[in-house]
Structure formats: C-alpha cells, structure tokens
C-alpha cells in the first residue's frame, strides 16, 4: 500500500506539477508529455492504482480465509437461532 501511495504522490504532485515543464520536452503523440500527464495520464494512473489495491486486498482476504458473504449468512443464521432467548 505504501508503494501505491508513493506512486500516487509521484504522479500527481511530482510529475504533473513540479516537473511538468521538464516532461514537456518530450511528446506523446503530438501532445507535450507533461501536459498529457496532467490532463490524461495521471487520471489513468489513479484508476490503475485502485484496481491493483482492490485486487491485492481480495487476494489477502482469500489467503486468510475471509469470506464476508459467508460471515453475513452465518450471523443471520445464528441471529435466527438465538431469536427469543439471549440475542
């Protein structure tokens, strides 16, 4: 997660505000690179970062055997069992 946040900071604050003029020396298609990063590339990066995060966290949940849907079902069952006495 720290890596993802580092990329986030680097892309949004680094590339697109602090180093934009330097990046503008290059071009992507016919758009200056710094300009493209600010108005297109950074947004694409953000979506990708969250996608990686979601994917990693779901892997992590799986490796610990966590299944929230099953938990919800289980708690609904135990609530039904306990209904009337101590619930």
């Amino acid at each position: 997660m720290a890596t993802l946040l580092a990329i986030w900071a680097l892309v949004s604050l680094g590339a697109s505000t602090l180093a934009v003029d330097w990046l503008n020396n290059a071009n992507i298609g016919n758009v200056p690179l710094g300009f493209w990063m600010g108005q297109q590339g950074s947004i694409i990066t953000f979506v990708t970062l969250i996608a990686i995060y979601v994917w990693r966290m779901e892997k992590l949940d799986e490796s610990y055997g966590i299944d929230e849907e099953a938990q919800l079902a289980a708690s609904a069952r135990s609530a039904a069992r306990n209904a009337g006495d101590d619930a």
């Binding site: 602090l18 758009v31 297109q40 969250i50 992590l60 610990y64 289980a74």
Partner: protein
Amino acid sequence: MSTFGWTVFWVVLTFGLYIFIAIRSRARTTGEFYVAGGGVPAVANGAAVAADWMSAASFISMAGLVAFQGYGGAVFLMGWTGGYVLLALLLAPYLRKFGKYTVPDFVGDRYSDGARVVAVVAAIFVSLTYVAGQMRGVGVVFSRFLEVGVTTGVLIGMAVVLFYAVLGGMKGITWTQVAQFSVLIVAYLIPAVAIAANLTGNPIPQLSFGEILTRLDGIQTDLGFDAYSDPFSFYERRNLFLITATLMVGTAGLPHVIVRFYTTRTVKAARRSALFALFFISILYLTAPAIGVFAKFNVIDTVHNASVSELNEIEWVQSWSDTGLLAIEDKNGDGVISYTPDEETNELVKFDRDILVLANPEVAGLPKAIVGLVAAGGLAAALSTASGLLLVISSSIAHDLIYKMLWKDATEPQRLLMGRVAMFGAVCVAGYFGVNPPGFVGEVVALAFGLAAASFFPVLVFGIFWKRANAPGAIAGMLVGLTTASVYMYMLIWGGMEPWFGVNKAGVGIISAVLNAITLVVVSLMTPPPSQELQDLVEDVRYPGALTGVGTSSQVSTEPA
C-alpha cells in the same frame, strides 16, 4: 422539432424516470433512509458515487475551466480524481467496517461528543456551500433552454428532488443517481465524439485532441496569448502543487462522498465501489480536457475575424447574449470581432466559462436533439449531487445532532420522520440559495474543499491508523485546521490581505491540514491516551475479517458457509 421542443422532451423523459424510480424504492426504515439498508451492489454504488460526485461544476463548468486556464485546469482534473486514491486506500474500507450512518458518527464514537459537534458543523457548512452551487446550475439550464425564469427553474428542480429524497432517502437517492449517471455520461460523450469526428475524422476525443491542441497553441500564440499547453500561464508552480494537493485531500474528506461507502453490503464491496466510482468518473474527466481544446478552438474559429452582423444572426450567439453570459462589442467599429489578450481591444467582451459545455454542441453545429440532451445531462448532474448533499445535511441534523445528542430515546418511526422533516427543511434552504445565490458561490466552492481538507481528513486518517489519537487532540486539530484555513481565505477575499508567499486561497487547505495533523499529534501525546475499549475498536477496524459486531474471523471460517 426545435431546440426547445427537444429539451422539453428529454427533461420530461428523464424527470419521469427519476420519479418512477423514487416510487419503486421508498424507504421504510432509518437504515434504508440513511444508508439504503447497506445493501447496494458495488457497480450500482460506484455509479451512484460517480453521479453524486460529478456535479454541475464537473458537467457544466469543468471543461470551461480547462479551456480558459489551459494547463492550469489540470489542478481540477487531478485534484478531483486523485483524491479517490486516498479515499480507497486509507478511508473507505475502514469506515465501512466501522459501519455507521455518517461521518460525524465515526468522529463522535472514535473521539468524543465534543468532536462530534465540531464535525457536524463542518459537514453542514461544507455541504450547504455546495448545494447552493448546484441549485444555481439548475437555474442556469432552465433559464437558457426552457425559457422560464431562474426562480421557476429552481422550484421545479426542488419539487423533483423533494419527491425522491424525502420519500426514498438514501435508497431512493442511490437508485435515482444510477439513472442520473447514465443520463449525464451519455449526454457528455455524444457531443464530444461528434465534434471529434467532425474536426479530425477520429471519433475518440482522447486520441484526436492532440492534433487540435497543436493548432490551438499556434492560434493562441499568434493572437498574443500564452500557448494553451503552457504549464504556468495560469498558476505558478507552487500553487499548481498546493491547489492539486488541497483538492485531492479535500475530496477524500468530503462527507457526502465518504458516506456512500456505508451503503455497500461488505468491506469488499466498499473497496470495489471505490474502483467503479473512479472508473466511471474518469470517463467524464478524460473527455473534459478534449472538450476544452475543441470548444476553445471552435469558439475562436467562429468568433475571431467574423463580421458582427453575421455573428448576430447565429442562433446560439443570440440566445446566450440574452442570458447575459455572452457579450461581443465592436469596439473599434471595423465591423469585425477580434479576440485579443488586451482588455482595451478585446471584442469578445464576455464568454462565461460556465456556458462552454452547454453551448458547445450548438457552436459545433450538432443536431438540435443533442443540444436538448446536454441540457438534460446538466440537470442530472446538478440534481444528483444536490440530493447527496441534502442527505448529509439532513442526517447531520436529524441523526447526529438530534438523535445522538438531544433525543436519545426516539423510536424508529420517530427517527425516520425526523430524517424526512430535516430533508424537507434542507431542500427549502437549498432552494432559497438557488433563487438568491450568494454572489460568491465560485469562491465558496474552493473554500469548501479547503475546509474539508483542513478539518476532516487528518482526523479520520489518524482515527483509523493511530490508536493513541484522542479526543482533545482531534478537537484541537480540527479547530486549528478550520480556523487557519478560513481566516486566511477570509482575509484574502474580503480583508484585502496580500497572499503570504504567494499562496492561492484555494491552495491553503493542504497547509492547514498539515497544521491540523501536527496539532492532533502534539495534543494527543500531552493528554491521556484513549480508553482500552476505544483502542480495541481501532484495532478491530484496522484488521481484515469480521464486520464489527459479527464475530471473529476464525470462528466464522470454520463454519460451513
């Protein structure tokens, strides 16, 4: 059919759809009213967050801002999307796990009732400033396209919002927002694609705007302006940095966005809806810069060196001039309009940046049906955001203030009724501001982000990740953040103060957020740690597995599912 006829057609069709959805999804319990019963699927929630987030400012104003600020517009593009990375990684899953109704709920339970009150005040202030802007957007669209007064327009908008927000609460709002997202994104993309195809032969705006950008840079330099892609023509480097950071942190601290992650069924769904939300938002945000380039090119191309008499015969020039948002004046009497950077000689006297997207299809000569559709899209954007904000205001008052602080033994039906009454009140206040907009709406939106960044974000993040953070620290932090930011903004806007170190008023929020964090840490360390109970709660929110109150993960995973 005329533009007017098409607009009426689209508006009636979409409004009918919203009302139909409202009737289908009435709220029966407090849980449904505030968080849609916590059972919204991730894709639908993502679309709802996107509609909630993309306001009249995104739909109507943003491409215009980008067109007139050039590279400077990137602060909005990045600021309003980058915040979702913070939200998805640092806040959404944890707050969902905590499982309450509102942001002040978290602040109040994690810290203290004193902190809750500060959070309620901040949430209401931030949301009200925003709502006023949305209602104003509704008024502008109605007055231009439906030939009714701004007041009538606002009243019609209020009636529709009132209907589905009071009836359906978060449940009605969420499903309406899913529909509104579809309307607004279609209305945004169709003209962009059509214009891209017309101008360059390549219908994908993101790929084809580069060609026009090169020509636009050339034209602007010829006319004596800075090149469109020049990075520092609008903001200096330090302000680009500070404003981007403020908008991102502010985005992650806005109560009406955070609350959306309480509406999902599981933590996993909360994470996924953050992804869907940003994906849906990025469709519009990646198109906006292309629209900015196309529109500016088209406007200069149409207006510069055109004869006054010809211009005055163009339908959109006439109708926008009537609204007072567009003005041309042949100052040197040569019968031709010139667009120049010098105010003395510039003859495109006024071109309000808010009309750029709405006027864009007409400027590009697209069919009337599309012009009407864009109007309906603008209304969808304004109404969806307004309803999300109204929910925050009503829940802050009815739930956080009255139920949690003043009337703790209210019954379930009484709480639901309170929610509805507060919603009704909030719609009326918003309508008032829509009809009588405070002259400083534009300023105040920047203010709202700065204040959200300065007040909420540090308190939420420390509340989740640092067990030692305590109530005195949080209150002191929020107060320091709020006062430094608001005093600085006030002094710049109304106090006639010169900016310190050239810091723009929209960029001060991030500095106040840092001060807030420092204060929070220092005061927390100087005062006793929070109770063991609270520390356990933080531990529980942090680690994966059981939703709060459901049981531990080891117990659950051994049970057959």
